[in-house]
């Protein structure tokens, strides 16, 4: 059933197929190397870790689909987390905390969107500038402090279980499905694809380009805000630079997932696969306790190889 990408579109399908192949390949490899890998527990654990990355990456996917990029996603998470955390501690009201986190994220997204649409700045630079500004503000107000100790009820969304499955995984599934539906089954999604593929055409075909771009950046902001909440709940504490370490991995996840930096091509499922690949690699390296010095190297190689493999296999299938 084609909720995910356009499964009738053979290109997108094959692209996904080959990426899945990479995932399976890694899994098989790991399960040979360590019996600890292929256990329900560990797989759930991998999924839960991937879900945090995916939350950030899902919004980013939309942005990259429009041939843009959002470097401020990590800084956004940091700021939203700190703000939401402070509110949570101050008011003790979970709902209020939620609202703050999401609104903060959305506002930052909006700011990015305005920079990119109204002022026509290249998104790479606009969001890069935003990154520094957000960090500055966060550092200023946090002054090196950390906030911690949130209510059990709030921490459900990060560390809780439903029917023996961690809550973040449900969130990941929710975002995956709703995201895919949004892209495939609403005219917004279709317009976003078109506008990524060729903004001029999109505009002349009656796509309200500015509005759609704003929407995309706001959504990206919102997912960042939500991610920040899950971080808070999972870690039960926050500091200014939380999430910064995940910016590049999130972007990598989207790109490994087959979304093109030039826009117009890509799917949510692809991004999920990308996130899985990265998480699996880290998980594997910890399980096999590979020397810390080499971990960046392995990740780097995997990034290149996974893209390359996909490319080779696809060339084969074309010719």
């Amino acid at each position: 059933m084609p909720i995910f990408p356009n499964l009738k579109n053979s290109d997108e399908l094959s692209a996904l197929f080959y990426r899945l192949f990479v995932v399976i390949f890694i899994c098989i490899g790991l399960s040979f190397l360590s019996e600890a890998f292929l256990t329900v527990n560990n797989l759930l654990n991998v999924l839960r870790q991937a879900s945090l990355l995916f939350l950030m990456a899902s919004g980013l996917t939309l942005v990259i689909l429009t041939a843009g990029i959002d470097l401020s996603v990590g800084a956004n998470v940091g700021m939203s987390a700190c703000l939401a955390g402070t509110v949570l501690l101050a008011t003790g009201s979970t709902t209020l905390g939620f609202l703050t986190g999401i609104c903060c994220g959305a506002l930052i997204g909006l700011a990015n969107g305005l920079l990119v649409t109204l002022l026509r700045l290249p998104s790479f630079i606009a969001t890069y500038g935003m990154l520094w500004i957000l960090h500055g503000i966060t550092y200023y107000f946090m002054a090196g402090a950390t906030i911690n100790g949130f209510s059990k009820s709030f921490r459900m969304i990060g560390s809780g279980y439903w029917f023996g499955i961690p809550v973040p995984i449900y969130m990941m599934l929710f975002f995956l499905i709703s995201g895919s539906i949004f892209l495939r089954y609403t005219i917004f999604g279709q317009q976003i694809y078109a506008l990524g593929a060729n903004p001029v055409t999109a505009r002349l075909s009656g796509v309200p380009v500015t509005r759609r771009l704003l929407l995309v950046y706001i959504l990206s902001g919102i997912t960042a805000g939500l991610a920040s909440l899950v971080f808070l709940a999972r870690l039960n504490s926050a500091e200014g630079d939380i999430g910064e370490a995940l910016t590049l991995p999130a972007i990598a996840a989207v790109l490994i997932g087959g979304t093109s930096l030039f826009g117009g091509v890509g799917t949510m499922l692809g991004t999920l696969i990308g996130a899985l690949i990265l998480t699996l690699v880290l998980n594997g390296m910890n399980i096999l306790s590979i020397d810390g010095n080499l971990q960046a190297l392995v990740t780097g190689v995997i990034i290149i190889v996974s893209v390359l493999l996909d490319l080779i296999l696809r060339r084969k299938s074309v010719v």
């Binding site: 089954y185 279709q190 317009q191 060729n198 055409t201 002349l204 075909s205 010719v319």
Partner: protein, 496 residues
């Protein structure tokens, strides 16, 4: 006179299609060899083989009698083959001189360095010979389409080639530049250059051609002598079936209510106080030289360029703001440049077709795949778009079919006003007639059509009324019997 270059049984296959099948073809110094054929007939493939971009799968090439092989563009250069491509091969942020001599820069005193002054001098000389006077230091991205085409031509000439291949060189040119080009071609002929000239404009074919060859579906159909043949015969050779002559219009249009009214419209893109109105059920032409502001008018009406003053009325209500308002009002624009403005090339045919209609088709904002698929397939069959399936990306189709997609895009919105900007530029006769019969169909169903075209014959044959533009404003309106090429030209030319 023996041929300078001969192609024997050239074949070229791409996955799926037989682009060229056993094509033989000879080029004789000092003659203009017209190459005709519908888009996708294999003309461009043949050219690409000549200039070394592709290699033939089978067949031989003979250069002045002895067999040769062209593996790369540089080989082609060795044999003095130069090509003027249809889609521009210029580098936007290099200046004219650098573009003309790209890959053949004059070395300075240190190896690897460039002798700028010499390059500009040479470029100057070339441009003068074409009697166009742009500064050779201007970056080409600041030039207009026609100017860029002239640079293209200069670039080809600069290689002082023995064999010159031109693909639709006049497609983007105004009449003045066209005449300049033709003079140049005559000069070259005199110098004994062999010229292969690809065109869809019958007038050119007959005025310039010494010999005519026709390709169809990758096969060599035959040659003809311009003195002894007629347009209809050629068209028949190209299309392979008898088409009633392209523009023939077998109905009388009966203008109805005013659909589009434009009152002293001015825009930052350079047009000033434009007045025009288009009624339902009529075809109104917008003629004028290239650069007289026709496209700009279309864009301003559609809201693609900002309107500084004046107003546009669509069925009585004002059109304001971005294009998407226009679309909601039932206005539609088939832009001049289909690849960069009409299509999202990497998306599928289906997605392109439904793009403009999304809002109309799915007012709930929720897409029913089955519906969009059905709409797309209907249009694909109705417009006879040649594609294996709606799921193929648009970029694999030929120009004519792509143009049909762009039109289909607007048929899926039940829009009532169509602005066609050069709908037949670089399109083969077959698709041309199809597109026109389509336009006629629309009009008979009560749509209003504003047609922009550089081909006077088109304007004259098709339109019920014609507005002629000059220097950014409308210089006159013609209707009824007054519509003839002479009048249109008179109004279009600056006063003599």
């Amino acid at each position: 006179m023996k041929p300078i270059l001969e192609l024997k049984n050239i074949s070229k296959n791409f996955p799926g299609i037989k682009a060229l099948d056993q094509v033989s073809f000879s080029i004789i110094p000092g003659e203009v060899h017209m190459l005709l054929g519908e888009n996708g007939a294999g003309k461009s493939t043949l050219m690409k083989i000549l200039c070394g971009a592709y290699q033939a799968d089978a067949g031989e090439l003979y250069y002045q009698g002895e067999q040769i092989e062209i593996h790369s563009p540089s080989d082609a250069k060795k044999f003095g083959i130069a090509v003027i491509f249809q889609e521009f091969s210029l580098v936007p942020y290099l200046n004219i001189a650098q573009n003309i001599f790209l890959g053949r820069e004059f070395s300075g005193w240190i190896p690897g360095t460039i002798d700028h002054s010499k390059m500009h001098a040479e470029a100057r000389r070339l441009l003068d010979s074409l009697s166009v006077e742009y500064d050779t230091h201007t970056l080409v991205h600041t030039l207009g389409v026609a100017q860029q085409q002239m640079v293209e031509i200069a670039k080809a000439l600069s290689q002082n080639a023995k064999i010159l291949v031109m693909d639709e060189p006049t497609a983007a040119l105004s009449d003045r530049e066209t005449t300049l080009l033709f003079e140049m071609i005559h000069k070259l002929k005199a110098q004994g250059v062999a010229i292969v000239y690809i065109s869809h404009r019958m007038a050119e074919v007959f005025s310039m051609g010494d010999r005519i060859s026709v390709l169809r579906d990758g096969q060599y159909v035959g040659s003809a002598d311009p003195q002894k043949t007629t347009p209809d015969e050629l068209v028949q050779m190209m299309v392979g079936r008898t088409v009633d002559m392209v523009y023939q219009k077998n109905f009388v249009s009966k203008p109805g209510a005013i659909a589009l009214r434009v009152e002293n419209l001015c825009s930052s893109n350079g047009i000033r106080d434009i007045h025009l109105e288009v009624r339902c059920g009529e075809i109104v032409g917008l003629a004028g030289l290239v650069g007289s502001g026709r496209t700009e008018v279309a864009r301003a009406i559609f809201g693609a360029d900002p309107v500084t003053s004046g107003r546009v009325e669509v069925f009585g209500n004002d059109r304001v703001g971005e294009p998407f308002h226009s679309v909601e009002l039932g206005l539609s624009l088939i832009p001049e440049n289909r690849k960069s403005e009409g299509l999202a090339l990497i998306r599928t045919v289906e997605e392109n077709i439904v793009l403009a209609g999304l809002k109309k088709l799915f007012p709930s904002n929720w897409i029913r795949l089955s519906r969009s698929e059905q709409v797309a397939n209907d249009l694909i069959t109705r417009l006879r778009i040649a594609t294996p399936s709606g799921k193929r990306p648009a970029l694999v189709l030929s120009g004519g079919n792509q143009q049909k997609i762009v039109i289909g895009k607007w048929l899926s919105t039940e829009s009532k006003i169509f602005i066609f900007d050069e709908p037949t530029r670089g399109i083969d006769v077959g698709s041309k007639s199809e597109i026109f019969s389509l336009i006629y169909k629309l009009v008979q169903d009560g749509a209003a059509v504003l047609l922009i075209s550089s081909e006077l014959s088109e304007i004259v044959r098709v339109c019920d009324r014609v507005y002629v533009m000059r220097e950014g404003t409308i210089s006159g309106e013609l209707s009824g019997d007054l519509i003839n090429e002479a009048n249109v030209l008179k109004l279009g030319m600056a006063d003599v």
